[in-house]
Each structure stands twice: as structure tokens, then as C-alpha cells.
């Protein structure tokens, strides 16, 4: 990988003011009808697997309550637990670092690698390092970074960011992956058999594991009581990296903490089932210190999290364990693809986390939802996602994150809706217009509503007209 190739990674669709335009990205995605059908179906398949996995646990709803309560408790005294974690980890020979933001995180990681003269890094999937833009930073300093999670490696070879937090290459069909592997790894042209492609990736990655100077992973859970970290994978790549390399760096958002080892079981039962429908992920790797001769580092990253923790309406979003169940169930995500969100974390959870970083740039995200509430109902730690999306909409508007015309229009609408006589008049005018205007012109005037929809057939009169004529004295 070279620095220039990383810089060309797919950029989000931005509007004239540099803000993410989710509707435009979604329109581009849905223009490919067959791909949209396939993407929606692939994710719904996972959602159904999740349903079966959840249904197999009789105490599922109680587990959700418990997980939510543990996370709420931890967040309510996060400072204490973080310090306890640091003390216990340090006692185990782990070097603990604190990073205020992504840039500081990247400098810390680069510093650790530079001090050891490490040039080749193998990484196991970490959305946090995506969030911090770590790969590009390290590559600029001449370090080769290889993402070892299969899906992550596929998008890395294509210079694309992940489109999903658990299935980073879910937007790609196996034929497209075959073409990428043919070009980058020299597999035969036209090879699209998943087993053969996986075997080719395994051979390619095995060489990278053996030659690595350092390994890096994300963290699913850090345990304050023990000072250790737990990394969940299905491919065992985190273990290979941490077991082989002389330097191991684990990066974690500060919200990944849980108080006790005994709490872990609650989350492990929920996480795999919510993410993929599996009863358990294949590997849950517990790392409680460096091997003899190895150096182990944990980087604790804030990058906006303590600000979000201070927001009364949104702190609950930090309970998220990144299972992606809300992405899989979201009818909008399934039909607009991860890139339309222009954010490292897409979908409902990304839409409540990301506006906190830049409310104007990400103003569109809280509106990329029908507020159907499926995300909140599926969330294993009970984040009230639809409520938070609703509240972000209010803040986005208050912060001037909407065009003046929309703001004026909403105020005017509010006035009409609060004035029954005016609403009756407006309704009569609109029904009259619907009757006399040519349908094509009416659809054009109706803007977004006229896309793919016929306009309503106007009734002769309103319900209030009927009440006056048929139930006088009742109003």
C-alpha cells in the first residue's frame, strides 16, 4: 500500500456546503435496482439469523436489560473504572496510553512502532483505527499496514473504507472480490468461488503474519477488574497477530470498559447473536499481558466520547457494543448502503454518534431514518436510537443545519397546522389543485413526493365538511 492509494478512498457525496448528502448517496445506490435488492436481502438474511439466535435464549429480554444496566452503571463512573483499568493493566506489564483524539492516537501508535524500528504492521479489524485514519498516517511514515480480517483486507486492497462495521465488504459481490484478488493477489481470472478466494487470502495473509514486526487489534471489551482486554473474531486473526509479533498494540474507545470479568458473559451471549446470529463467535481472545519478550500497549482513546458522555440526550449511545444489529435491521441502511452516510460508523448508531463530531457536516444523518424504531427494538444494550435521532433533528435545525427555505417552510407549516380554519382553506385549495392540474405537472410541483408516486386522488370534501352536514352540533 502506498500513501496515495489510501488517499483515493471513496469520498462521501457532499453538498455545496461540504455537508454529507445522504439522500444523494442513497439515490445513487438505489439507481442500481438489482444491487439494492441483493444488498437488502443479504442484510435481512443476517437479521433473520439474529432473530433465530435471540429466540434461542429464553431470557433474551432480561439479558438486554442487564447489559444496558451494566453499561449505564459503567458510564456513570467511567473515570473511576478507567483509572482502575490502568492500574491493573500496568501491574500486568501492559503499557497504557491516553489519547485525546485521533491525531494523538496515531502519534502514539507511530511512536511505539518507531521506537522498535517496526516497518510491517498486521491489524485485526478495528473501527476505531478507521475513525482515527490510522492507516493513512502510518503509510505516510513508510509503514506497511495490512488489515487481516478478510472483509477488511478486501476493502483495503480496493482502497475503499468499510461499508459496514461487522461485514466491511458486504457491499461487494463475490465476482467483484474475485476480480480484485485476480488483480492484487494473482488468483486466476474469473475465480469467484468463496472457498477458493478465502484460501488465497489465507495464504497471502499468512505470509504477512509471519513477517510482521508488530500487531494491532481493536478491543471489544476491557475489564477494569482484571486489567485485560477481550477481542472477538471469527477468523482467529487477532490471535495470530498477537501471538507472533514482538509488539502488540490494542486500541480502544474509552467506552469499551466493563467493570468485572463476571459481566463478560452477558455481553458475549448478546454480541455474537446480535451481530451474525451465531450462538458464539469463533474466537474470544483474552489478552492479559504481554508474552515473555513481547511488549504490549493499550491506547485509550477519547476522540469526542467524553463530550458525548456529557450530552444529556445522547450519552446512552456510548453503551453501544458495535454489533451492527441496528444497521442490519434498518430499512434505510439496507437500501442505501454504508457509504451514503459518509461516516466511519454508518446506520442508526452512526447517525447518533457522528453529528456530535460536526453537527453541520453530518446534519443529514439524523434524517436518514423513517423513525420506524426497529433499531431501538433490536439493540442488545437498549440504546434508544430512534429517540436520539429525533432529538438530533431538533438540534441540527437549531444549529442552522438546514437550508433557510426548509426552516421557513416548517415555521409556516406549524402556523397552518395550529389554525383549523386556515388548514381547511389550504386543504380546499390543495384538493382543487389536484383536480385541475395535469398529473405530470402536479407531480413535478410535489417535489420529493412526486418521485415514484402518483398524487392522492382528492376527495370531494373534508371530514369537517361531512361533520357539518351530517353531525351538526357534535363539533
Amino acid at each position: 500500500m502506498t500513501a496515495s492509494s489510501t488517499a483515493s478512498r471513496t469520498l462521501p457525496i457532499l453538498d455545496a456546503h461540504g455537508a454529507v448528502d445522504h439522500a444523494a448517496g442513497a439515490e445513487r445506490f438505489t439507481a442500481d435496482v438489482d444491487r439494492t435488492t441483493w444488498h437488502d436481502g443479504a442484510l435481512w438474511f443476517v437479521r433473520e439469523k439474529r432473530d433465530r439466535g435471540a429466540a434461542s435464549v429464553p431470557e433474551w429480554e432480561r439479558l438486554r436489560d442487564l447489559a444496558s444496566a451494566i453499561k449505564s452503571h459503567t458510564l456513570s463512573r467511567l473515570d473511576e473504572y478507567l483509572e482502575r483499568f490502568e492500574r491493573r493493566a500496568t501491574a500486568r506489564g501492559i503499557q497504557v496510553h491516553w489519547a485525546r483524539d485521533g491525531a494523538e492516537h496515531n502519534e502514539i501508535v507511530l511512536g511505539i512502532l518507531a521506537a522498535r524500528g517496526a516497518r510491517r504492521l498486521v491489524k485485526s479489524k478495528s473501527m476505531l483505527t478507521e475513525e482515527c485514519g490510522l492507516n493513512a498516517h502510518l503509510e505516510r511514515h513508510g509503514i506497511e499496514v495490512v488489515d487481516t480480517d478478510l472483509g477488511e483486507r478486501i476493502v483495503q486492497l480496493r482502497n475503499e473504507p468499510p461499508s459496514h462495521i461487522v461485514m466491511p465488504a458486504i457491499h461487494l459481490k463475490k465476482e467483484e472480490i474475485g476480480a480484485t484478488f485476480h488483480e492484487k493477489l494473482g488468483t486466476p481470472a474469473g475465480l469467484a468461488d468463496p472457498d477458493a478466494l478465502t484460501a488465497a487470502a489465507r495464504r497471502h495473509l499468512r505470509e504477512r503474519f509471519l513477517g510482521a514486526d508488530a500487531a494491532m487489534t481493536g478491543v471489544n471489551f476491557a475489564i477494569a477488574e482484571t486489567g485485560g482486554v477481550v477481542v472477538i473474531t471469527n477468523e482467529g486473526n487477532a490471535d495470530l497477530g498477537t501471538a507472533l509479533a514482538p509488539v502488540y498494540i490494542a486500541s480502544m474507545g474509552i467506552e469499551k470498559l466493563i467493570p468485572r470479568a463476571a459481566d463478560l458473559g452477558v455481553f458475549l451471549r448478546l454480541l455474537a447473536r446480535s451481530a451474525t446470529g451465531q450462538a458464539s463467535s469463533v474466537y474470544a481472545s483474552h489478552v492479559h499481558g504481554p508474552r515473555p519478550g513481547q511488549a504490549m500497549h493499550v491506547v485509550l482513546v477519547d476522540n469526542g466520547r467524553s463530550t458525548q458522555l456529557g450530552r444529556g440526550d445522547f450519552w446512552g449511545s456510548l453503551k453501544c457494543i458495535r454489533c451492527a444489529a441496528c444497521l442490519n435491521t434498518c430499512p434505510v441502511y439496507r437500501r442505501s448502503g454504508g457509504y451514503s452516510y459518509g461516516s466511519t460508523i454508518p446506520g442508526p448508531i452512526g447517525s447518533v454518534l457522528t453529528p456530535g463530531l460536526d453537527v453541520r457536516k453530518y446534519a443529514a444523518l439524523p434524517f436518514a431514518s423513517t423513525l420506524c424504531g426497529s433499531c431501538s427494538a433490536v439493540c442488545p444494550v437498549k440504546v434508544d436510537l430512534d429517540q436520539q435521532l429525533y432529538r438530533w433533528r431538533q438540534l441540527v435545525m437549531a444549529a442552522g443545519g438546514a437550508p433557510p427555505l426548509k426552516r421557513w417552510w416548517l415555521r409556516a407549516m406549524g402556523g397552518v397546522l395550529a389554525d383549523p380554519a386556515l388548514l381547511q382553506l389550504a386543504g380546499r385549495v390543495a384538493r382543487g389543485m389536484l383536480r385541475v392540474l395535469p398529473p405530470r405537472l402536479a407531480r413535478r410541483l410535489a417535489g420529493g413526493w412526486g418521485t415514484g408516486r402518483a398524487l392522492p386522488e382528492p376527495p370531494r370534501g373534508s371530514f369537517r365538511d361531512w361533520v357539518r352536514a351530517n353531525r351538526p352540533g357534535r363539533s
Partner: protein, 251 residues
């Protein structure tokens, strides 16, 4: 008993037949239906679009209008959810009014009771696809949504189940959102229309003769997409189905 009926702005203007059917059905059930004219809207349209303050005046007027009544029936799961969640913040009597506000099916199920509904001796031999609006489903918990691992419960199908001969078409995705979402349908037309088409495909493949919904807004969206694609499956609100099945009608 006495109860007030609230026909939300879009029902009043675009689907008066639903409100008329509801009035006639409730009267047949022995309810003295008050139809106060003061309130026109619950204020949800601007609120969901991000401007709750501009919707508050409408919500306040709704609270004032319905404060005198012990039961307020709202012909929309979505508007009922908005009243439940936000009325207490805008007016002194908002909390009590929110507690006394019922979505139509919820009122029939919880207040009228299934026995009195059965006494209507309604009958309809069609096979219907049921579309419960998302807010009615998850906001008001009219039925157990497919995400939750709770005992199965469905007030809408229970109410419809009092109609002799009526059967339910099984959907692949029983509670998938139709894609309306208020301002979402205008702001994100591509995904909104796509969701509507997918919902109609699922319903079409189920062999249903008609769609029955708790929410007129979902019906307006789905029928608009259906008509644009040259498909015309009958769409009825629960009130319309119950009224016609009971031989009521004289609008």
C-alpha cells in the same frame, strides 16, 4: 359511553372516508362520539422534520380541545405516539390528555372489548395483508414487533379477528416499514419509494386481496406508489374494513 374522535389533518383532508367509517362504527358500538372542531393537527409534521417548536402550537391546541374528554380516539398510530410522547411538555393538561389518548384499534381492543366487537356480527371473506404502522407497532406496542423476544400479542389482528371469514395473508417481513416516515418521504424520495415498492411486492406475493392498516399515512404512501406502478390493491383502514364488514355505510 362518550368519547371524542380526532381525525388528524391528513385524514381530514385526504381520507375523510376513514373518519366517517370510524364515526359510524363507534356509534354502532354505542359510543356517543364527540367531534370537537378545535384541533386540526398534533404538530408531528414539523416536529419530526426537526422543528418541534413550530409544531407545539398545534399540539397545545389539541390538548386544550380534548382536555374535557375522558377518552380521545386518534385515527393514527403515529399521531397518537406523538401526543403520548410530547403533549406533557407543551401544556399543563398535556400529561393527562396523553394518558387518555387511544389509537383507534387500541380503543376498540382495550376499552370496547372484543366481545362487543363480535356482537357486530361482521363478516368478510377476503384474505388481507395487515400493515401496522411502525409507531403503532413499536411506539404504542399494539403488537409484538419481530425484533422483541416477548410473548406474541397483536391487538390489531385480534380486533380484525372478530370479523367472520376474514383471513390474514402471511408476509415475508411482517413488520417492515413501508418507507413513508413523514418528511422522510420527501427528503429521501429514492429510498422511501423503494421501500414502498418492496412492501407492495411482499404483499403482492402473499396473495392478499386487500391491505388493512392502522395508519392512513402509510396507506396514502403505498397506494400512491402502487398507482404510479399501475397496481391497485384495495387499501383500507381498520375502521373501513370493520364498518363495511358490519354493513355500516351511508357516507
Amino acid at each position: 359511553m362518550r368519547a371524542a374522535l380526532f381525525a388528524p389533518c391528513f385524514v381530514d383532508q385526504l381520507a375523510p372516508g376513514v373518519a366517517i367509517a370510524a364515526v359510524q362504527l363507534l356509534e354502532r358500538l354505542g359510543v356517543e362520539v364527540a367531534l370537537p372542531g378545535g384541533a386540526a393537527c398534533c404538530g408531528q409534521p414539523p416536529a419530526n422534520a426537526g422543528d418541534a417548536r413550530s409544531g407545539d402550537a398545534a399540539l397545545r391546541l389539541l390538548v386544550e380541545t380534548f382536555a374535557p374528554f375522558t377518552h380521545t380516539i386518534v385515527l393514527s398510530g403515529s399521531c397518537t405516539t406523538h401526543v403520548r410522547q410530547h403533549a406533557a411538555q407543551v401544556a399543563r393538561l398535556g400529561g393527562p390528555v396523553a394518558q387518555r389518548t387511544y389509537e383507534f384499534c387500541e380503543f376498540l381492543h382495550d376499552v370496547i372489548g372484543l366481545d362487543r366487537l363480535r356482537a357486530l356480527a361482521a363478516s368478510d371473506t377476503r384474505c388481507v395483508a395487515v400493515h401496522i404502522g411502525c409507531h403503532a407497532l413499536r411506539g404504542l406496542q399494539l403488537a409484538t414487533p419481530s425484533e422483541r423476544m416477548l410473548p406474541a400479542m397483536d391487538k390489531v389482528r385480534a380486533v380484525l379477528g372478530t370479523v367472520r371469514g376474514l383471513s390474514f395473508a402471511p408476509l415475508q417481513r411482517p413488520d417492515e416499514c413501508c418507507g413513508f416516515g413523514g418528511s422522510f418521504s420527501v427528503g429521501e424520495p429514492a429510498v422511501s419509494a423503494r421501500m414502498g415498492r418492496d412492501r407492495l411486492d411482499d404483499i403482492g406475493a402473499s396473495g392478499a386481496d386487500a391491505v388493512v392498516s392502522t395508519d392512513v399515512s402509510c396507506m396514502l404512501h403505498l397506494s400512491a406508489i402502487g398507482r404510479a406502478a399501475g397496481r391497485t390493491l384495495p387499501m383500507l383502514h381498520v375502521a373501513q374494513l370493520l364498518a363495511t364488514a358490519s354493513g355500516i355505510g351511508g357516507a
